[in-house]
Each structure stands twice: as structure tokens, then as C-alpha cells.
């Protein structure tokens, strides 16, 4: 649940989601759920030429199980907060 809460706090920020099929999509984080499925708005594909079928897609739902990376703005990362939350989760979980 740690990352679910973490991503909920990042709603509204611009992120880049890289999928396991190498497709990378930049967009505004609209919502996330317990499976870490992600809904992005105002999306643009990073390598548009390689993925022509995504040209007119502006909103999408991405299944959590196919995400490789979620790239965040560096000011979206509070390391100390994450450390504390991780230690708490490790103790409790």
C-alpha cells in the first residue's frame, strides 16, 4: 500500500510511464488504484514514430502489471519521507 499512497500524493503531477513493451508515455497522473493501475491524461508518446497507433490517444488507462518504470520529477521525491514510510511498512508488514 505504500506506493499506492505515494502515487495518490502525486496525482496532478507530470510523469512518464515506461511499459514493459518499451512504450513510454508522458502525461499528467490522473489516478491510481491498489493494483497500481495508472490513468494518465493529456498524454504524449515519447517516441511517437515508433508507435504511430498512439497518435491521437490523449487519455489512457495503463494496467499496473505492464509498467516497467514510472519516471517522476525530482521534486516529487521526498527521500526522507520515503525512507520513514519504508521502515514503517517493513516493521508492520
Amino acid at each position: 500500500m505504500l506506493f499506492f499512497s505515494y502515487f495518490k500524493d502525486l496525482v496532478g503531477r507530470e510523469v512518464t510511464v515506461e511499459l514493459k513493451n518499451d512504450l513510454a508515455i508522458r502525461g499528467t497522473l490522473h489516478s491510481v488504484d491498489q493494483y497500481l493501475n495508472i490513468k494518465l491524461e493529456n498524454t504524449r508518446v515519447v517516441d511517437q514514430e515508433k508507435f504511430p497507433h498512439m497518435l491521437s490517444v490523449r487519455n489512457c488507462f495503463i494496467r499496473g502489471s505492464v509498467v516497467r518504470y514510472v519516471q517522476l520529477p525530482s521534486d516529487g521525491v521526498d527521500i526522507d519521507l520515503l525512507h520513514d514510510a519504508t521502515r514503517r511498512e517493513a516493521r508492520g508488514g
Binding site: 513493451n21 493494483y35 498524454t43 497507433h53 497518435l55 491521437s56 490517444v57 494496467r63 505492464v66
Partner: protein
């Protein structure tokens, strides 16, 4: 009195019940907002399916096969897709161009010819499961 806890459940404090506000799976939550919208569904095997969700439109669902600059739309009719096979569900804006202008539509026979015998072992549908797909063990 009701208090919303998170995006998917509401607790009815008077009666102490909790129930999921929307449907069971997170994909249902998205799909109910996509009714009658044109969607692009990317599958784990690399295939791209396009269609309008739950309408009685004559076009139904069709598979768009893309091989370099050529594409072909193959009609499929009604498709029910199991969630585990879905990579991405994208909303297609109706007025916008779905593909870059340099791409040319060809017939089904042409696209099958274009996808065989090339590098990277394309299947008969023109998608490369090894290259474009996501295996279950990824």
C-alpha cells in the same frame, strides 16, 4: 451520513456497511466512463484492437495491423477481452487523425505478405509477439 474514504469505497456510517461504489475491477471503473467512446486496446501479445465500447455501431471491433508504413484494419465483430491480456486502453479523439499521414492503408492480403519473411519473425497477423508483446514472465 457517508464519508468517502478513497476513490473506490464509501462507508455508510449510520449502518456500518461498506460497499464498493463502482464495479469490482479497476478496469470496470475506467470502462464505464468510456461507454460509446472509441478505444484503442493494446494487448500483451502486441496486437492493437480498436473499437467502440458497448455500442451497436456497425463497425464493431477491428484489429489494426501495422507493418512499417502500411496498415490494414481487419474487422473482428464483438470481442470480449480478459483483463490480464490488456496492456493499455487509450481513448481515441474522434476528430483527430489516428495515424500519421505518411501511412498508407492496404488490403489484408498485402499486409500479410508484408509481415511474413521479414526479420524478427512476424506472425501472420503482422505483429511480433517477441518484439511488441509482453510475456507473462516479464
Amino acid at each position: 451520513m457517508q464519508r468517502r474514504l478513497d476513490s473506490s469505497s464509501i462507508v455508510d456510517l449510520h449502518q456500518g456497511r461498506s460497499w464498493h461504489y463502482l464495479m469490482k475491477s479497476p478496469e470496470d471503473i475506467y470502462l464505464s466512463t468510456s461507454l460509446d467512446k472509441k478505444l484503442l486496446v493494446l494487448l500483451r501479445d502486441g496486437r492493437k484492437l480498436l473499437g467502440i465500447l458497448r455500442s451497436f455501431d456497425q463497425f464493431g471491433a477491428y484489429e489494426r495491423v501495422i507493418v512499417s508504413d502500411l496498415y490494414c484494419d481487419i474487422p473482428l465483430g464483438l470481442y470480449v477481452i480478459r483483463g490480464e491480456n490488456v496492456v493499455l486502453i487509450g481513448e481515441l479523439e474522434l476528430e483527430k487523425e489516428e495515424l500519421p499521414p505518411h501511412m498508407t492503408p492496404v488490403s489484408e492480403a498485402e499486409i500479410k505478405k508484408g509481415s511474413e519473411g521479414g526479420e524478427g519473425c512476424y506472425g501472420s497477423q503482422g505483429y511480433n509477439e517477441k518484439k511488441d508483446g509482453i510475456s507473462g514472465y516479464d
